[in-house]
């Protein structure tokens, strides 16, 4: 053991880089899978990104390849072997029971994890690195908790809610995998609750209410993480050699009332401290879903120590307070922007055409849809101000959009109506 520890060295507080070339991302239908795939696409050192899920991807993929798989690990194993995958990132864990049924969550969290681990295991496997996104729900929330959980602290009590049981079970499976496959660098990221514009969790829903309900007599401590930081942490784990468990949570632990204050919300201690369960059952009927794993958090709160990850050279872009302020911005903008952006819909034929058709011209580096839109807007204003013939200047805009991927093309069409003939 000591030899292994000495081997896995962290020098001068910064982890050494890890050679990841061929990455497989599971759970591309989740927000995290999509965000990570987009982030890794921008990294030129990564040759191949394969995204698997049983459902459609949640966002536009540019060079990542999507493969739809069921839950059978045999299939996944074949993909891993065929593509000589060296890094598997598992972003698929369900950590909020309000998003799905307990049965589906169990199937996904426990059986799914088992299947993925099976696909990576074995002496012949090409996998050298496994990154698993888990949740700080693994620690639970009890009254005799420490104020800051560190990674090596065991959970003081057995889990009581289905989702916590699933997470604990999945983590145990990952630990067993790490034990049996010492050649694989296993990173487990325990992420705090996320608060962000594009993510819908039980917490974002709670804080979106006009008046935020609380359990009377309790003011729990809350720590959040910004979605950008979480994606950056996943990317950091892919890029660096980080064997072990790491907490991912922003600096700063806020009191619940402080969070409400920053969001500009009123809070109401209306949930009784005794008989909380039946009251929440009634509230659930009325449309306020507070999942069981959140009840104890609303009572006792939770803080985690994020210094182990920071010691590997990772820096957070947002503190908890800044995360909450960002979310407050979103809440203020939301009524204005609602419905302005269509959700992405995966269309297989279109994606395949764009990827494989010889008619698609794809020599230029791709532009962000946002950049394309900006460019077109600038060009349009230039055309208008110069008062020249629109035909001559309209062409580059059309071409820029044409060279880009499918989404940009859609944007290009929309903008093209105003800019002139494309």
């Amino acid at each position: 053991m000591a030899g292994v520890r000495a081997h896995a060295q962290v020098e001068a507080g910064v982890a050494k880089p890890h050679e990841s070339r061929r990455v497989l991302i599971t759970g591309i239908s989740t927000y995290w899978g999509g965000r990570l795939a987009r982030a890794l696409e921008a990294d030129e050192r990564i040759e191949t990104i394969i995204a698997v899920d049983s459902e459609d991807p949640s966002c536009e993929l540019q060079r990542a390849e999507f493969v739809r798989v069921g839950n059978q690990h045999a299939l996944l194993r074949r993909i891993v072997d065929a593509a000589a995958i060296d890094t598997v990132v598992d972003t698929r864990l369900v950590v909020d029971s309000a998003t799905t049924t307990p049965q589906a969550a169990h199937e996904n969290n426990v059986i799914g994890t088992m299947n993925i681990l099976t696909a990576c295991a074995g002496p012949a496997s090409t996998v050298r690195k496994l990154v698993v996104k888990s949740s700080t729900h693994a620690y639970g929330c009890e009254q005799d908790d420490p104020a800051f959980f560190t990674e090596e602290m065991p959970r003081p009590h057995a889990p009581r809610t289905p989702i916590e049981r699933d997470i604990v079970e999945a983590e145990a499976a990952v630990a067993e995998f790490a034990e049996r496959n010492p050649a694989v660098c296993v990173t487990l990221l325990r992420c705090a609750n996320v608060l962000g514009a594009d993510v819908s969790t039980s917490h974002t829903q709670l804080f979106s209410l006009p008046v935020v309900p609380m359990i009377a007599g309790f003011d729990p401590r809350y720590q959040f993480v910004h979605p950008d930081d979480l994606v950056a942490a996943l990317e950091h784990a892919v890029e660096h050699h980080l064997p072990g468990i790491y907490n991912v949570a922003a600096d700063g632990v806020l009191a619940f009332t402080e969070v409400c204050g920053l969001l500009g919300k009123r809070w109401a201690p209306v949930i009784p401290p005794w008989g909380t369960g039946p009251t929440l059952a009634v509230l659930r009927r009325l449309g306020l879903r507070i999942p069981p794993e959140m009840v104890n958090q609303l009572r006792f709160g939770r803080g985690v120590d994020n210094r182990k990850l920071k010691a590997t050279g990772f820096t957070y872009a947002y503190t908890t307070r800044e995360t909450v302020l960002k979310f407050a911005e979103h809440l203020r903008l939301h009524p204005v922007l609602r419905g302005a952006q269509e959700p992405y819909r995966y269309e297989r034929e279109v994606e395949e055409f764009l990827r494989w058709s010889p008619s698609v011209r794809d020599t230029e580096p791709r532009l962000d849809p946002f950049q394309v839109r900006e460019l077109q807007r600038l060009l349009a204003s230039y055309v208008a101000s110069e008062g020249e013939a629109a035909g001559g200047n309209g062409e580059p805009a059309g071409e820029a959009a044409g060279r880009d991927g499918e989404p940009a093309r859609r944007d290009g069409d929309r903008a093209g109506d105003g800019a002139g003939p494309a």
Binding site: A8, P146, A147, P154, D219, D251, A311
Partner: protein, 289 residues
């Protein structure tokens, strides 16, 4: 498998303690509440309205040996504990604020049961109370270099009856010595005289305890017959707080050594007990000092 894995098979070594201290989250000046839940606003409010009056006029606290509280760095204050809902912790915190040349905030460790009581759970962190968990104490003492107050007698101290006043109970399992040795900070023993008489406990009402599910339900001069707030009905006993000379273990004391820990704990307990008896012998009146 019930407990989650605390480690994965092949782990990177933990960061160095010096690194951990460097990596502590920075203080955000815009915030009124710190990471432990302490609220300056609530604390100042309580100080203005209640504590100042109690310290100056009700208990007429007299403080000796304040120079033994270090002006910088972590230190563990160890005191005797008494009274139904003991006022001694807040008076010690106030004494440091009032008398010390470099006033510092004091973290008071409390039983984690209080986190389960509605009202207390919200209020206690706001005024600087921290659940007594070894990890909390270590982080405060070692990483944050703060002053921490512990009552090693714990519940046994507050549960003791008036007839057993100023007789120290067992000092836990010596966990406080272990915490100080591990963090490499000194222990400052503190003796408080007066708290026993300010909130004497005559008996325990076990049927009410069972009925309410509280930690204990004491019978005091004003509680429970004057209602729940009667628990705050302190008698105006004269308080005398004496800080004793610190015990310094040095930076690299072997804190895993149970025998050394027990011996040190025993010694500190004996010192506080001796000093308490000395103070009691000097005291002429419970009310006037």
């Amino acid at each position: 498998m019930d407990a989650p894995a605390a480690t994965l098979g092949r782990e990177a070594p933990l960061p160095e303690p010096a690194d951990l201290r460097r990596l502590l989250p920075g203080v955000e000046p815009e915030r009124e509440i710190d990471d432990w839940g302490r609220s300056e606003r609530v604390e100042a409010l309580l100080d203005r309205t209640v504590l100042d009056f109690a310290y100056r006029y009700w208990f007429r606290c007299e403080v000796e040996g304040i120079e033994h509280v270090p002006a910088a760095g972590g230190a563990l204050l160890v005191a005797n504990h008494a009274g139904a809902l003991p006022p001694d912790a807040l008076m010690i915190a106030k004494a440091i604020k009032e008398e010390h040349p470099h006033p510092r905030p004091l973290r008071i460790t409390v039983e984690h049961f209080f986190r389960g009581y509605p009202g207390f759970s919200a209020l206690m962190p706001k005024i600087g109370c921290v659940p007594a968990h070894p990890a909390n104490v270590h982080r405060l003492l070692h990483d944050e270099q703060q002053l921490v107050l512990v009552f090693p007698e714990g519940r046994k101290g507050t549960e003791k009856l008036y007839k057993g006043r100023y007789r120290l109970r067992r000092f836990g399992r010596g966990g406080f010595v272990e915490a100080a040795m591990r963090a490499g900070v000194p222990i400052v023993p503190v003796c408080v005289v007066g708290a026993e008489e300010a909130a004497p406990v005559f008996a325990h009402l076990s049927f009410l305890k069972r009925l309410t599910g509280l930690l204990y339900v004491p019978l005091t001069p004003t509680f429970p017959h004057l209602g729940p707030l009667g628990i705050l009905g302190y008698l105006p006993a004269k308080f005398r707080i004496r800080f004793l000379e610190p015990v310094d273990f040095g930076p690299d004391h072997p804190w895993e050594d149970k025998a050394a820990v027990q011996m040190a704990a025993h010694e500190i307990r004996a010192r506080i007990q001796r000093e308490l008896w000395k103070m009691l012998a000097e005291r002429r009146s419970v009310w006037l000092g």
